[in-house]
Symmetry: C2
């Protein structure tokens, strides 16, 4: 459906639950809170439903009012598949009224969908949607949208960044987005513990396929020893991809419940989403994730085996 | 002088030597080669005079013609002080005809100066200058200008990034700048050796003033052991500033000739340029450099003493 139709739908309904995906990132949370602020500005009831809200994203909730109401309308943002609702899946599966997303493969089962895979970030879509709805851009909304646009493009570093992305970011700066603060929190700040963990994780680097693939691992033992929470591990995923000559960088994070949460970062040579799909995961061509069972050695071997056909 | 006057001067002369600063970065080199390409496009003779050209910047020379001519006109780009010409100083000191710069303190002795400290990068100034000169934007010029704009803003992460900066970057993308390649080379790629060096350097972290200051050091011994060249050390400077709670991050790189090359990165609390000025160096409020003599312990102590009055 067109953006105009999506705007019409949103204006014609009320009492919104806005769903974000599990292991939330800046784009799904930025989208969620931006839409919530926009709907509340129009006099509607709205709330964001997350599986979790890591501390560093708390500023996104500035200006959001807590409202007590019964959900009538459900909208998902940046959710490619209802599986990714995780702990919210039982309550909301099959009940999404409108899905707004930018993933090239979207499997959400909803009567109304606006999916624009040309958008570098889902927040770009909302940036275009809000004026059609008559929403006034505020500093708070600009902070949310900037967060999504910046995080999904690696702060405008990645290939998905377009001239449009940069012009939208320019407008958001003019609307008051606290860009330097946001980028510092999202990309630069690490605790002493995280730095120590990175040191430990870098010691685990193993190379495959003539150094074209590099894997690193964060084990539960390392995390316990250093006292690092799971949500502090996000930055690790970009480490192996940065090594000269490495086409695919893979980061394994051991899970409390067994097995490994796997992040794949890839150059243009290999489609990370296709690789992860082999393990029931998904994402984008350059960045995707999945879960792999077994011991660390087994998990690495499974990934190496799956990579064989791509290289 | 105004941009219009600078354009008039450049159109009215010929046989250019374009000077960049020592320890060159993306903005001085991007400015140098962009201006060289622009002048050659207008049928003039021009060459860029560097103290060195690190390998990763080689793409900036794409499309630049080697011309054999006698220098008649000297222009400096992104050079705040003639001292920074280093090995080129004896030949060019006092002979600069036009100085184009964006540093808030510019000490170059030249009859004509266009200094715009509002510009996040010197390349922003050239982006505005070229249309006045009638220069056609090419992919090669766009690559050079994008390199300067991106590197001097930490890929649009830092506080100096403005809406204008982002719109200029958008235009450069549309002109064909290979942004993803440039950002990968400038910000992401590190060799296995560099990664190992980072590991070693992080082990040297020391904190001062209740952890508000962090210092790291790369010694000649580490470099020799790992076989890392001096120009591969650039990325180290951003490490200490990234630690949560750290206001000033200081990186010391031991010099072959004794003493340490010092990079200071600072939050808004402390002016890095003022600190470095105490040791005869300079730069910007957020990022500056200087040289400090003595052993590692002595150098660190001198820096800590100098910091005392700022904290």
């Amino acid at each position: 459906m067109s953006l105009e139709k999506a705007a019409e739908f949103l204006l014609g309904h009320d009492n919104y639950h806005i769903l974000t995906h599990a292991n939330p990132d800046g784009d799904t949370l930025g989208s969620g809170y931006a839409l919530c602020l926009a709907l509340q500005q129009l006099g509607k009831n709205a709330g964001v439903i997350n599986t979790e809200l890591p501390k560093k994203y708390l500023y996104l909730t500035d200006g959001v009012r807590e409202q007590d109401f019964e959900a009538q309308t459900v909208v998902s943002v940046d959710v490619a598949d209802e599986k990714l609702l995780d702990s919210n899946r039982p309550r909301y599966e099959g009940k999404i009224d409108l899905c707004i997303d930018h993933h090239s493969i979207n499997r959400v089962n909803a009567p109304l969908k606006h999916v624009d895979s040309e958008a570098a970030a889902n927040c770009e879509i909302l940036y275009r949607l809000f004026p059609i709805m008559g929403v006034t851009m505020t500093k708070q909304i600009a902070d949310c949208l900037y967060t999504g646009v910046s995080t999904d493009t690696g702060c405008f570093r990645y290939d998905n960044t377009t001239a449009d992305t940069l012009r939208i970011a320019a407008d958001l700066l003019e609307a008051g987005a606290q860009h330097a603060y946001i980028n510092k929190v999202m990309f630069e700040t690490k605790s002493k513990k995280q730095l120590a963990l990175e040191q430990a994780v870098c010691d685990t680097i193993t190379y495959y396929f003539d150094d074209r693939v590099a894997m690193i691992a964060a084990t539960l033992e390392m995390r316990r020893k250093l006292g690092v929470a799971d949500d502090e591990l996000e930055g690790l995923a970009s480490i192996p991809r940065r090594i000269e000559g490495v086409l695919v960088g893979i980061t394994l994070r051991e899970r409390e419940e067994g097995g490994f949460k796997v992040s794949v970062r890839s150059d243009s040579h290999i489609n990370a989403a296709q690789l992860c799909a082999k393990f029931g995961g998904g994402g984008h061509a350059a960045a995707a994730g999945c879960t792999v069972k077994g011991s660390l050695e087994e998990a690495k071997q499974k990934l190496a085996d799956a990579l064989e056909e791509f290289l």
